[in-house]
Symmetry: D3
């Protein structure tokens, strides 16, 4: 299974189509370099990698990309508790406003059922 299948799950085709339509080269860099080269490296499991990604995205304050990896973390085996702890800890290093904004987004991801086993009434991309 490719890293993209693991992280993007049932949304893989939709995300890939959207990325290709957006920019063919940026899609290729994200696919070949970011996902299948760097995130695919051994030495750190995908679950830990997704929690690191969440932390980096809380630091950047990028809601849409954060939502992608909040869902991705769950798909590669993180528990809801582990994601929550990652967000809570970010308050220490990045400040309470960043942690609070991330927790609100995380609630939307959970409520929206945007990962397997929850149903998916409303697409997160449209509201984040």
């Amino acid at each position: 299974m490719s890293v993209r299948e693991a992280i993007w799950g049932e949304k893989k085709e939709r995300i890939e189509e959207a990325l290709r339509a957006l920019d063919e080269d940026l899609y290729r860099y994200i696919r070949d370099f970011a996902y299948e080269e760097v995130l695919a490296r051994p030495g750190l499991d995908l679950k830990t990698r997704e929690l690191l990604a969440i932390t980096a995205l809380i630091a950047l304050g990028s809601p849409k990309e954060l939502a992608t990896h909040l869902e991705g973390a769950l798909r590669v085996g993180a528990t809801e508790e582990e994601v929550r702890e990652t967000i809570l800890q970010s308050a220490l290093f990045l400040g309470f406003p960043r942690a609070l904004a991330a927790m609100k987004l995380w609630e939307k991801v959970r409520r929206g059922g945007a990962y397997p086993g929850k149903g998916e009434e409303r697409p997160l991309e449209d509201e984040a």
Copy 2:
């Protein structure tokens, strides 16, 4: 064992003295809230927490505090490979300059033997 003992290791007394001399209340917040309340939470092991801290500190670009947690990650059981992977992955989310600066600092931490079992010829704090 307190979280501070686990992360600061043999430097615990020295770091605590320095922090107390710096500011009694900031020391108290770091000790009681940051370390023994938030970092001490169950739900995520200390090793993962330290890798998350490293990512947040790469994002901030704070070399001294990053050095503390590069050492701390090793003390709570992260392998050198796991720390390295954490730094390499940060290039994707935070850009190559951040990852490169972190890797240079990581090399100093490793060379300086600033964690148990390596000896400690030169104190990292003075050069970071």
Copy 3:
């Protein structure tokens, strides 16, 4: 009067309910550590603290949390002029784009009447 009552004013109950529903522990940290321990410290009046909070939030670029403290500043006695000057000055240190985005948000807060004495036709949280 608690710091939360001073800063959140008539929205206190609504904000607390929302925070508790979001995450019980994050709420507790915000209440007990952020508001009633650190912001409650003597040595700096609440008005100055709120102007400092506004500056930090302009730096972070966090609109919802910024809106909370734009309102909060007024509740603890800052004049509209003082808030405006805080935003204008941020252009020097954080750049014009940050200052401009903050000024647009500030206009919404003023127009929305989201603080005592102005009425509150539309809740800011929904549009920020």
Copy 4:
């Protein structure tokens, strides 16, 4: 032609009215210092200046101000390819999430026809 006419084009009057209504002094600083003093300096052509502005705004993560300069770059003679390359390159220095968010915004600017020769069905300011 003033720098504002060059960068804001047919939207100049609308933008100036909005800025003046927002804050008279901030408008004056943006007009007299930012645009007609600094951006008007010789030594670097306006096209390069707008690509630099785009990079700075990708770093800040400020979507509305970024949209203004994505349009502005085209007005002062940048090709769509040059803007796209500026965004792609930002992935190296600022990380993929920043580049991806900027590329999505750039697509909206292009689709929305928010610059001369494309028509302007929907104002970008309202959706960015």
Copy 5:
């Protein structure tokens, strides 16, 4: 008294010489726009303005410029307690690493006697 005299104090001539030698136009912008136009505005006293500057510079993580305004805050009438509270509060909004780095720098400023009434054995610029 100009704002520069108030904030830079006995270092005014030295700082101005250094800035002019560095870049004549940047010096002019800092003098005429930053200090004597924006910081000189009424509506907010200089002491509050310097505490806001400190907060913005903690957010940026710029040690040399932060040192300048830590000293400046004292010169325009801030007490050591007010500066310390400003730094402590930054932990909430910008995270503990930023607050800790600022507190260390603040200790150097106080020890170095880099403001009136303390003597000035070692110039801060060289070590910050």
Copy 6:
């Protein structure tokens, strides 16, 4: 000529040795992806790319990596005036402290003769 030869010039071998000694994989990513894939793209000349890199690095506040690209800009044909204008403009978007720190570093690069035709008495890497 490779992009690395163009940007790193006479320092290419030294930089490559240092990067390889630091981390073989990070070196490979920087060489094959950052320099020879993305920076080597057509559609934007290397001079403009280096000015964009300078802007991104001023935003990040990364002095060593900024020094590399201040030198690199000159090697690929930017004039001293163009580099200076890039730094001056950054004050508008990223604030005066960032611009001032960059201008000081730029002075060191110029004084240090760290690019062809100036001699190279003292290696910039050691002081930046």
